[in-house]
């Protein structure tokens, strides 16, 4: 295809290169990191156990990041995902504790059955979705910038979680949840990984193959155009934030199962990790373009970094520094991509 038409040759020639930039560089970065760590510490890093741990660590972040993909594709941002996770985990844990009739217990496990666990799961997802509707409604109706709304709800969700728990983690989880979900496996694959994979596939299919998904991209690309095309952009935005909230709720159940306790103070940087994963995965911070598949790759960058740093004996705090830098790099590349695409 030559760009005979009105001198578009440059853009036509650039597009494969741009496509490579879009998703390729991050894959190369991931392979590079894996190669470095595997080369430096083959025994520890490349062990089956360690790779499994990597996948389990990635699972919870992936669920958060899939929701964040919707939000960022719609040209929004959800800073509240980690705090909503904490809120949902506390509420869910307390509900399960109360239903198990062991509300006095402060640690250990309860013998709550599957119905109680199911209720606890639904409570977590529903409470997360409610926070999402709250975010979405303020953004879509009150037209308050997403950055501010979700920054505010981040503080509120975390604050409510601390009020509800008195600031002390709920340590009594249903044993069945911890065993089957947190530490269990389905035909050899850790249950948490299965949950994350199913979530990614399901929400990837919805985003990329349905009309709703197309409208998410359209709203992110040009909300005014979407509105004039008859798309209900308010409903779309509320749905997008509700999905992010609901998936934070699901991630809360996964975290409860994995750690056998709520982790109130363990999620302050989850939003940065999720946003980095999404942007690294090629979803544009300006909205309109992106993919869940890219997010899957993007999520492994921080995970592999942290894991590699731990194995190499580098203080894990450096991972936080590296992640911040990688986030800025990812956004910069996104901007370069946009500028290249438009310069004809």
């Amino acid at each position: 295809m030559s760009g005979v038409q009105s001198g578009n040759g440059a853009a036509a020639a650039e597009s494969p290169f741009l496509r490579l930039l879009a998703s390729g560089w991050i894959f190369v970065l991931l392979l590079g990191l894996v190669a470095i760590f595997a080369g430096l510490r083959p025994v520890q890093f490349a062990s089956v156990y360690n790779l499994q741990q990597l996948a389990i660590n990635a699972a919870i972040f992936l669920v958060l990041a899939v929701g964040q993909t919707y939000v960022i594709a719609a040209a929004g941002i959800d800073l509240s995902c980690g705090a909503v996770l904490v809120f949902s985990s506390v509420v869910s844990a307390q509900v399960m504790l109360a239903l198990a009739g062991a509300s006095g217990t402060t640690f250990g496990t309860t013998d709550a059955g599957w119905p109680v666990i199911l209720i606890g799961t639904l409570v977590a997802i529903a409470s997360g979705a409610l926070w999402g509707v709250f975010n979405g409604a303020l953004i879509a109706w009150a037209k308050i910038p997403a950055l501010i709304v979700t920054l505010g709800s981040m503080g509120m969700a975390l604050g409510f979680a601390q009020i509800a728990s008195g600031g002390i983690d709920v340590r009594a989880m249903p044993e069945k949840l911890v065993d089957a979900v947190g530490a269990g496996a389905i035909s050899g694959i850790p249950t948490l990984v299965v949950i994350a994979a199913v979530t990614a596939v399901l929400f990837g299919v919805i985003l990329h193959l349905t009309g709703f998904g197309l409208h998410v991209f359209a709203v992110g690309s040009n909300a005014e155009a979407a509105r004039r095309s008859g798309i209900n952009i308010r409903r779309n935005l509320i749905a997008v934030y509700a999905i992010s909230g609901a998936l934070s709720g699901l991630a809360a159940v996964m975290a409860n199962a994995r750690f056998s306790t709520t982790t109130i103070n363990g999620h302050t940087l989850d939003n940065m990790t999720a946003i980095s994963a999404v942007v690294l995965g090629g979803t544009s911070l300006f909205g309109g373009a992106g993919s869940v598949f890219g997010t899957v790759i993007g999520v492994f960058i921080p995970i592999v970094l942290l894991n590699g740093f731990v194995i190499l004996g580098i203080p894990p705090f450096w991972q936080t520094v590296a992640m911040g830098a990688v986030l800025i790099l990812a956004v910069w590349i996104d901007q370069l991509k946009r500028r290249l695409r438009k310069s004809r």
Binding site: T210, G211, L214, R344
Partner: protein, 253 residues
């Protein structure tokens, strides 16, 4: 004598103290290109917004194919057969042409999948290709994002989109203002082809030679009033300028 397709009578619209339209008239004949011209602030965009449902008049009536119409929204106007291509085009720059053509009216898969919301992208691409082919719009690829296309191509996609969904009238608000010579010609050709398919085109433009070249009829607005309705074949640039500035069509004695 054929009946006008659209008639607007005595349209008034004020914004606070500004009287944008003071009893303007406008008519569109079937399958014609009618130009709407006038100086800056004459009320062209306001009139067009009223015709396409984006705004409501304070006074006056609009009839479409003999029926009185009152559009509450652009969607209603579109359902009645009128679509407008604004200067900002209202395309989603990150999406490919076919997705843009069908935005808000996507084709769904047959059966259960369709009811679940799954898109039939193949059908959308095929129909988009057909639409582009009938209107002579050449795109280098139907998979790339709209904002990798040239300004003229983007304009063409927006017009093709309007012509796809509005079966009666497509309104173009200064479609060539930002285009070079070659691309302008392409967009004007496209306007002609749209007309040749039986859809009337309302063209807003400040370019007098262009208007005379492409339009069948020219209506002139001045300070919110219709001051002239001319056949393009019988008008000259001087006539148009005189009507726009003084409101008279004949040279003063």
């Amino acid at each position: 004598m054929t009946e006008p397709l659209l008639i607007a009578r005595g349209i008034r619209r004020s914004f606070g103290h500004v009287q944008a339209l003071r009893g303007a008239h406008f008519r569109v004949m079937p399958a014609e290109i009618v130009a709407l011209i006038g100086d800056n602030g004459a009320g062209k965009s306001t009139l067009v917004k009223i015709l396409s449902g984006a705004d409501r008049p304070d006074e006056g009536e609009v009839t479409l194919a003999g029926q009185r119409v009152r559009f509450g929204s652009p969607q209603e106007a579109q359902e009645a057969g009128i679509a407008t291509v604004y200067q900002d085009l209202a395309l989603a720059p990150d999406l490919p042409p076919a997705e843009n053509l069908f935005l808000g009216r996507e084709i769904k898969q047959p059966g259960l999948l369709g009811r679940l919301g799954f898109l039939d992208r193949k059908a959308m691409r095929a129909q988009a290709k057909e639409q582009f082919a009938t209107l002579g719009v050449h795109l280098k690829s139907d998979r790339v994002a709209i904002d990798t296309l040239s300004g003229g191509q983007r304009q063409s996609v927006a017009i093709a989109r309007a012509a796809m969904w509005a079966k009666k009238i497509v309104i173009l608000d200064e479609p060539t203002a930002a285009l070079g010579v070659v691309q302008t010609q392409r967009v004007l050709d496209l306007a002609r082809r749209v007309r040749d398919h039986g859809i009337s085109v309302v063209l807003i433009s400040h370019n007098m030679p262009q208007v005379l070249e492409v339009a069948d009829r020219i209506q002139v607005l001045r300070l919110g009033e219709t001051v002239a309705d001319l056949r393009a074949s019988e008008a000259s640039v001087d006539d148009l300028v005189r009507a726009m500035t003084s409101g008279r069509t004949e040279e003063a004695a």
